[in-house]
């Protein structure tokens, strides 16, 4: 694999800020953003991604988008099922914890997606404007499938928790701000967007860097909890994203997306949720140990994708685009 790409990716300010955060966590130093600012920053990122995607969506025809949307929905079902099955082989976890992990890996990570876009833009590689739509779509089905897989295993079943979890996913911040941003961007169009571009566009990479500093601290702390896990979980948390990412890239290419676009879809399937999924899982599957899922998704998969995965998926996409 081309270490140049990895080097380019690592030498970007957002990724370096992330590594600073990991280092700070290792030193037990306090570099976390205040909670209120962390919340506001994540709202900003969601809305900014949505708005930009909405403006771009105007330029896409329905036929153009239909294929990738269908591919995304299929991937939203396949990926968590695969995760559930593979975890049975790799670990001794029970079905509830495997379902919880499936929900995390079936869903997706906004920040990984965002870092991939920043990487593509820095590398002058184009991608379809409607990828933010795919991000929004992939948020949901993976979580639901994961919950269902775990639920089959559960005796009584907690109706209350399920409806709360459904609500949490459908009406949570992630989906509302992404979907809302898409609609607003679509309606406002390029002219309307121009007036807010200095805020939602110009600042984007800088705000992402600040956010990744915080995510680095969180990931670093999770990494510390790793010692308690066995071998199966870390292996899963690195190998599964490569598998799922490759599936996503294939799906994107088959659906007719460009190399850059297919790579982004690969990043979406490869990345694991650490915001929407943990909340929903905590409500619907309180028996699951939240530490396991978070250590895997936030402590291992997230840094792996951010530093190595992103350039790797681009290489895979370029390679597969040559074959298919």
């Amino acid at each position: 694999m081309s270490w140049d790409l990895v080097a380019t990716n690592i030498a970007s300010v957002p990724v370096l800020a992330f590594l600073l955060g990991v280092l700070a966590a290792g030193l037990k130093a306090d570099l976390r953003l205040p909670d209120a600012v962390y919340q506001a920053t994540s709202m900003y990122l969601l809305l900014a991604i949505g708005l930009k995607g909405g403006v771009a969506l105007r330029e896409s025809s329905l036929t153009e988008v239909a294929g990738p949307v269908a591919a995304t929905l299929v991937l939203g079902v396949i990926v968590p099922v695969l995760a559930f099955v593979i975890l049975r082989v790799l670990t001794r976890l029970g079905p509830v914890d495997r379902g919880a992990l499936a929900a995390h890996y079936g869903s997706t990570s906004l920040v990984t997606f965002t870092a991939a876009l920043v990487f593509l833009e820095a590398s002058n590689i184009s991608y379809e404007g409607y990828v933010a739509t795919l991000l929004t779509i992939l948020e949901i089905p993976g979580i639901l499938v994961g919950l269902l897989l775990a639920g089959r295993a559960m005796s009584g079943g907690n109706k209350r928790g399920w409806s709360e979890a459904l609500r949490e996913v459908l009406l949570g911040r992630s989906v509302l701000l992404l979907a809302g941003g898409l609609v607003i961007g679509y309606l406002a169009g390029p002219n309307g967007y121009a007036s807010v571009e200095p805020f939602f566009g110009g600042l984007f990479t800088g705000v992402l860097a600040l956010f990744l500093l915080e995510m680095g601290v969180l990931a670093g702390r999770r990494l510390g909890a790793l010692r308690e896990a066995g071998w199966g979980l870390p292996v899963f948390a690195i190998a599964f994203p490569i598998l799922a990412g490759t599936l996503g890239i294939i799906g994107g290419l088959v659906a007719g997306m460009s190399t850059g676009g297919a790579m982004v879809l690969g990043v979406l399937t490869a990345s694991a949720s650490y915001i929407a999924a943990p909340a929903a899982v905590r409500l619907a599957l309180p028996e699951a140990n939240p530490g396991i899922s978070l250590t895997a998704s936030l402590g291992i998969t997230f840094p792996f994708n951010l530093v190595i995965g992103i350039p790797l998926y681009l290489l895979i996409a370029e390679w597969l685009a040559g074959i298919l």
Partner: protein, 107 residues
């Protein structure tokens, strides 16, 4: 009009993710009010979830002894097993005691 009286103050520390559900449960147990402060903490079972989802909440409920018992029941049935929870109660003296103990039937 001196309406001093004793009521029970239950303090509950819980992961903030369960806030909506918990408040509905308090209401259904007959509580007529509560006060919430943001919190964080550590305990014997700490699962490290709260650090990502906005920390914990600390809920204080003033209620009659019977409502307090119903709240303990609720905590035992729905929360102690799977969630990070600490709770304690003690008697306090209030003015306008009827505000906290009105025999409003549990919803």
């Amino acid at each position: 009009m001196d309406t001093r009286g004793f009521v029970t103050c239950i303090t509950i520390v819980a992961e903030s993710i369960v806030e909506t559900r918990l408040l509905e449960g308090l209401s259904a147990s007959g509580a007529r009010g509560w006060t919430i402060t943001p919190a964080r903490g550590s305990g014997p079972k700490h699962q490290g979830m709260s650090e990502i989802e906005g920390g914990s909440i600390r809920v204080e409920v003033l209620a009659s002894a019977s409502v307090a018992d119903r709240i303990w029941q609720l905590l035992r049935e729905d929360y102690f097993t799977n969630y990070s929870i600490a709770a304690w109660e003690y008697p306090v003296q209030v003015d306008r005691a009827e505000r906290y103990c009105d025999p409003a039937p549990p919803r």
